[in-house]
Amino acid sequence: MKSLFQINTTTPLLVVMLVLATAFTAHAQSSRIQMSSLDHLAPKASETVDVTIDERLMKMAAKLFSDKDADEKEVKELVAGLKGIYVKSFEFDTEGQYSAADVESIRTQLRAPGWTRLLNVTSKREGSVEVYMLMDGEQIGGLAVLSAEDKELTVVNIIGPVDLEKLAKLEGQLGVPDLGIETTKPKTKNDKN
C-alpha cells in the first residue's frame, strides 16, 4: 500500500517537474540575453548605449516606416516579425576597462542550447567579434553579436526571424554614413561622383 501511495503522489509531481523543466528550457532558448551584468561598466565608459526595444515598441516603430521610401520599406520588412532588439555598448577612453569575466558573462549565455556561433574573429590588436545565431527549428530565432575591442564592448541581441543579408546591407542606408563595407547600392544617374 505504501508503494502505491508513493506512486500516486510522486508521479504527478514528476510530470509537473518535467513539464516545468521543458517549459523553462524552451523559454530559456527564446529568451533574450541578460546584459545587466555589464551595467557596472557604465560609470567607466565615456559613451554608453543602451537600447531596449520590445515587441510592442517594435510594432509601434514599424508603423512609422514609410512604404513609399525604398530604404524605409526595406527596414520595415527587416523588422517585421522581430520580437525585440537589445543593445548595450560601452566606449572607453582607455584600454582594459572591462574584464574577461564581463565578456564571459555574455558568452556563457550564448553557449546555451539553440545558439550556434557563426563567426568568431579574434585579433590581438583589434579584439574579437563573435556572431551567434539562435535556431528555432529550421528558422532563425535570433541573433547575437558580441564585439570586444580594446576600448569598446558591444552586445547586440535581436530576437525573432532576422534576415542576415538584409541586415548587413543596412549599413550606409538611411543617411547613415557608409563605412566602406560592401556597398551594394547601385549608382543612380544623379550620382556623378
Binding site: F5, N8, T9, P12, L13, V15, V16, V19, L20, A23, H27, V49, V51, I53, D54, E55, R56, L57, M58, K59, M60, A61, K63, L64, F65, V75, L78, V79, K83, I85, Y86, V87, S89, L119, V121, S123, E126, V129, E130, V131, L143, V145, S147, T154, V156, I158, L164, L167, A168, K169, L170, E171, L174, V176, L179, G180, I181, E182, T183
Partner: protein
C-alpha cells in the same frame, strides 16, 4: 519418555510440563474481538495527503502556466491595453453627446455644460494619448534604427575580419595616397 503429551496432549502427562503449563497459563492466547486504538484518526488524516499533493501539483502547474502565458503574452496585452484605452473616450463621447441631445430636448440647462466639458476633456485626453504614443513610437524608431545600424556594422566588421584585409578601405587609402 513418551512425548505425545508435549506434542498433542494425547499421551501420558508429564508433571514437569504440566507445572510449566500452569505457570504460563495466564499468558496463553485468548481469542477476543479486535479493539482498535483510540488514536486511529492519525491513519485517517493520511488519506488527505494524496489529495493535497494532487491539489498542490495542479496549483503549481496552473501557476507555471500562468507565468508562462504572462511572459509570452505580456507585450501583446500591453499593446491591446493601449488600443483598448482609445475607444473608451470615444464611447464616453458618444454617450455624453447622446445625453446632451436628450437633455437639450428636455430643458435642463445645468447638464449641458457638464456634458460639453466632459466631451472636451475626453478629446484632449485622447489627443494627448495619441501624441504620447506617437512620441514613443518616434523614439522607438530612432532607437531601432540605431540598433539595426550597429548590428549591421558589427556584422560587416566580423565579415570583413574573416575576409582578412578590407578591400574597400584599401582602395580608399590608395586613392588618398595617389
Amino acid at each position: 519418555m513418551n512425548e505425545d503429551y508435549l506434542w498433542d496432549k494425547s499421551g501420558e502427562p508429564d508433571p514437569e510440563i504440566q507445572q510449566l503449563e500452569e505457570i504460563l497459563r495466564p499468558l496463553r492466547y485468548r481469542p477476543k474481538p479486535l479493539a482498535l486504538p483510540a488514536n486511529l484518526a492519525v491513519h485517517q488524516r493520511r488519506r488527505y495527503f494524496p489529495m493535497l499533493a494532487i491539489a498542490a501539483t495542479v496549483l503549481l502547474a496552473l501557476v507555471a502556466a500562468g507565468l508562462w502565458f504572462r511572459l509570452h503574452a505580456g507585450n501583446k496585452s500591453q499593446s491591446q491595453q493601449a488600443n483598448v484605452t482609445n475607444p473608451q473616450p470615444a464611447l464616453e463621447q458618444k454617450k455624453t453627446s447622446r445625453d446632451a441631445i436628450v437633455k437639450n430636448a428636455i430643458p435642463a440647462p445645468a447638464a449641458n455644460p457638464i456634458a460639453g466639458n466632459n466631451k472636451h476633456r475626453n478629446r484632449a485626453a485622447f489627443a494627448i494619448l495619441k501624441q504620447r504614443e506617437r512620441e514613443e513610437a518616434l523614439a522607438a524608431k530612432e532607437q531601432l534604427m540605431f540598433a539595426l545600424r550597429l548590428a549591421s556594422e558589427k556584422l560587416n566588421l566580423a565579415q570583413r575580419k574573416t575576409q582578412g584585409a578590407t578591400p574597400a578601405n584599401q582602395i580608399k587609402n590608395q586613392h588618398r595616397v595617389g
